[in-house]
Symmetry: D2
Subunit: 327 residues, 4 copies
């Protein structure tokens, strides 16, 4: 039985997932993609990185495009509720025998880096530079009008172990999961901190790797407009999957690939999950509507492609199930 | 060179495509599909047929569901501008050596039936019973909120011949077409009478067969809602293709199959075509964006499946091209 | 009884309303408003005029912004079906004792100018320069994504006379009208050529004056986005009325004023009117839902403000009814 | 200076606002309004009350329609994080000299009732009967497709005092507020627990009274559809204000009145507020865009009308400002 009780008793409070640091080979090309096609707002560009944010965000960045020789992921950031949480987290990771270090992140305060027992790199911070509110600067709206950084999805080679780490050691709460029919093994899970369906999702597969970062958009027509824009501004081959409705999370979704192959989900219309007694929803792995409510299969690439984390070895998954991709 | 000049000089005026008569094996099941899922309005049901209309239509029917032993199509109806046009059409068909007969159609005036030289059955009428206006009875809106019958699409074994018949002998105007790159053969065409992209489209293939009937809906969200409704009320396997944006016509589309396998397109956002000097748009058969602007391929069934016309023999197409369905 | 039968028997064919020529005092300011806020596309700017078009239009212009000392209207253009129609129209106007002249219009072929017996200036042309198709250049979409010029609405001091002229002498077809309850006088009417609810609408009032020009947009969210954009880019006071749903025409609408006070309607979701036997819809002047289906009253300015035609005297209306503006 | 620091140090955790109990004079008429027009789902109806919920809610009710001789409000409910919070709250209120009692609420566990120092009645509970998930039963969607109970807005005669009570004694966090220009008095405020713009808003005026309850809907088109439905099913006069965009909260809104005059806001598109260091937004009372971003004034009724709480005396507000309702 894979579901375990939430752990409400931790000496720190992770507020939400907050940013991703993506290694990109051509900074100008990536910036163009994220600002002109997707519609992110450029806060600042330094010598080797561009700092972008979504329309409702008042912090300095949620997407960091870092010049790189490879298409690699440098970090995944989470905001905590106060400065002291960082010290509590450091102590907690030490107890768990996980290495930590204080990393320098532009426009942020103290930032604590570690990784999960299965290699997913995590960063925690409280302070970040404040930026002017642009939510109501409607003249700036472009592409899919991204409102906010919504969630992170990673491949992991140890699904059950990773799930237990996030829920028991970091206080994430399970909202939905996929399980095999026979052995009742958990094959994918969605866990939140901020009261939506997820801040962090895990997918069984060669890992750890980033499956995707996601932005929340106002409604489905913003997603359709992005398809139209991408299809007619040179990005037609960057549209990977969708648009469609997920059974899981009820989200209306689109998956696109950036110029380096980092996957981005454009996401809307999930639901509130703040109730502590909300029961997780179990999906049967054989139910094709869990993936797409309307029945359309995902392309094979969606189950197989991901981007690596810098310096982290990728391992074969413990669970050998194959994704169902035929209709 | 396949495009020929419009023929503006005919002694009759076909206003628009108007209805389809679909043979259905289970009248209750079909009526349920068309009214509860799709959202058509039931005008009247007789002993052996249900007469349905769209929300803005003030005529008695645009969809006739006729009890039948087979999933077959009984007729395709077109409205003319006045009663005398019917006599002019009869004379015109006689001159062309095409057989005509006056058929009895419930709730219609005189109705002239014939078929194209390649076997597509056509019916013409001017008078039909008037019904109350329900466009602003918003409490009746269901499913995709179908506003009006939009167009008819047929497979034909002689694409060029059928195209010439509709444009030269019936006054249809070409708006868009697909042509092979090498031989400049026309492989599909879209032709209108009413000022939209089409009343009648033709597709190369085993024919004549009905490819689909189409309804026009207000916007893309109505189509997404229909997907959600069909996916969760027992019709998930009836969703065949889409939603997506056609390159051709610019329409946002969805294709679904009714309980007998008759295909229905849910269609919105094409453009006005009333200018007589509007130049037809040529699409290269190798351009995948003609089919779906966003690049997604259509499933094989979409190129192969259609429903037969009652008593009409199906022939192999002259053109042997294969549809492009791989990405 | 104000409704008279359509006149289908005229020796020319007016296809549709096509353009307006607006006198503007600050060409740059007006161009900025129409392109950056509304989203029209600039085809060309000459020394004294800017030529703009909507996204699906393949002709050179539908909006001409003409440098001027006054906020005045220079012309209203209609497209005919062929060059010879212009000569037939000239002859027809001569028979009606209406003056005509050939005017020079940039990027157009021969253009015949006249005015209605009650002073509304009209221009007719067949040829206009062709421009590239940009409907699927989604990267260009801005503001409300205007698809096409939809209709013209004028104040007239002689409603019944003007209505009769358009329907009997120019072949326009009545689709909807407002009538007083007691005397059954027509107080406003909507008439079409192109198969939508109207190409030309007439409103009782001090006239002749332009009430508004209208563009058709894909859906209601485009209108809401325009409100958001105008409200936050310096045009909040240019929003006059709406958004809302008209009872008449069923359109979802917004009325805005350009920098010179010319009124523009942003319009979507009316219905097809091509059937020759479609019966006009009568609205009672006392029914507040004719104006706004949802019941909200229009502001007084909407009933009173309009822009004058160059060199045309404005007269007091024959009908002295007052608009209903209180709830 | 009206803004005070958040109080993060309380021995209980209020999760969110959860329900309203509305006294209605005709239970059938009210049930019809809320289910057929608005689109709430009926969970259960007892002899004297109907229990309704929104589409994503898995608890028994969020709207209780209680048969009553008057149009009065019986209670406002809040969910806490665990059963023990109720005891902590009881102790807390005792310390504050506020009376408490355990009330019996159908389909709920222990429920603690009290009122604020200025008379707003509050109820707290942890347990409520669980109901099947219907979020993906799209065949049930009607009206505006309400997803969840969003917030409560009350008039209070002591704005500053009430604001301090909610933030200092109950742990609500301020997100936006209106202040007078001269004296910097707070005139209205928006405060949350669940991570959206508000669970509770306060408005200066004769109070305490309920200003409105609000439901969250997927997008603006759902609101437009509700306008269309209400306008054509006998509820046109129940539409009070909107649709429009609030400057405050950025929400797209509509205000309607139920058959007893209880006000309901239909609400969408606000933003995430979980960051503890998110700075409250100050709006100047003289800025008309705070109320409606697009500039349209609210009707006078919106500033004046509210419904009383059972047995609670209404007092004159301390602040004598007048609402701005003229454009």
């Amino acid at each position: 039985m894979p579901v375990i009780a939430n752990n409400f008793d931790l000496p720190f409070n992770i507020i939400r997932c907050s940013y991703g640091i993506l290694g990109v080979k051509d900074l100008d090309a990536s910036k163009k993609f994220y600002t002109e096609a997707i519609g992110l707002i450029e806060t600042e560009t330094t010598a080797d990185a561009a700092y972008l944010r979504c329309l409702e965000e008042r912090q300095h960045h949620s997407f960091v495009l870092q010049k790189s020789d490879e298409a690699i992921v440098y970090g995944l950031g989470f905001k905590v509720s106060k400065e002291a949480d960082l010290d509590a987290l450091k102590k907690h990771f030490k107890k768990l025998d996980l290495p930590t270090r204080w990393v320098k992140r532009y426009a942020q305060g103290r930032t604590l880096a570690t990784h999960t027992p299965h290699g997913i790199p995590l960063e925690f911070y409280f302070e970040m530079n404040k930026e002017p509110r642009i939510l109501q600067k409607y003249g700036l709206y472009r592409g899919c009008s991204p409102q906010r950084f919504d969630h992170i999805n990673c491949f992991t080679y140890d699904l059950q172990g990773s799930y237990e780490f996030f829920t028991q050691e970091l206080g994430f709460k399970l909202t939905e999961y996929t399980a095999s029919e026979d052995k009742d093994e958990m094959l994918a899970c969605w866990m939140h901190r901020k009261g939506t369906v997820h801040d962090m999702a895990l997918t069984n597969g060669f890992g750890p790797r980033l499956h995707h970062l996601a932005v929340f958009v106002p409604n489905a027509l913003d997603i359709i407009h992005l398809c139209d824009v991408m299809a007619t501004t040179g990005y037609v081959d960057n549209i990977e999957r969708g648009p469609g409705r997920h059974g899981i999370s009820n989200a209306f979704f689109l998956y696109v690939l950036d110029p380096d192959g980092h996957r981005l989900e454009i996401y809307t219309s999930d639901y509130l999950t703040v109730d502590p007694d909300l029961e997780p929803i179990r999906w049967n792995f054989l139910d094709k509507q869990r993936q797409t409510l309307w029945g359309a299969p995902a392309p094979r690439s969606w189950f197989e492609h991901g981007t690596a984390f810098e310096g982290v070895e990728i391992q074969e998954p413990y669970l050998k199930n194959q994704p169902i991709i035929a209709k």
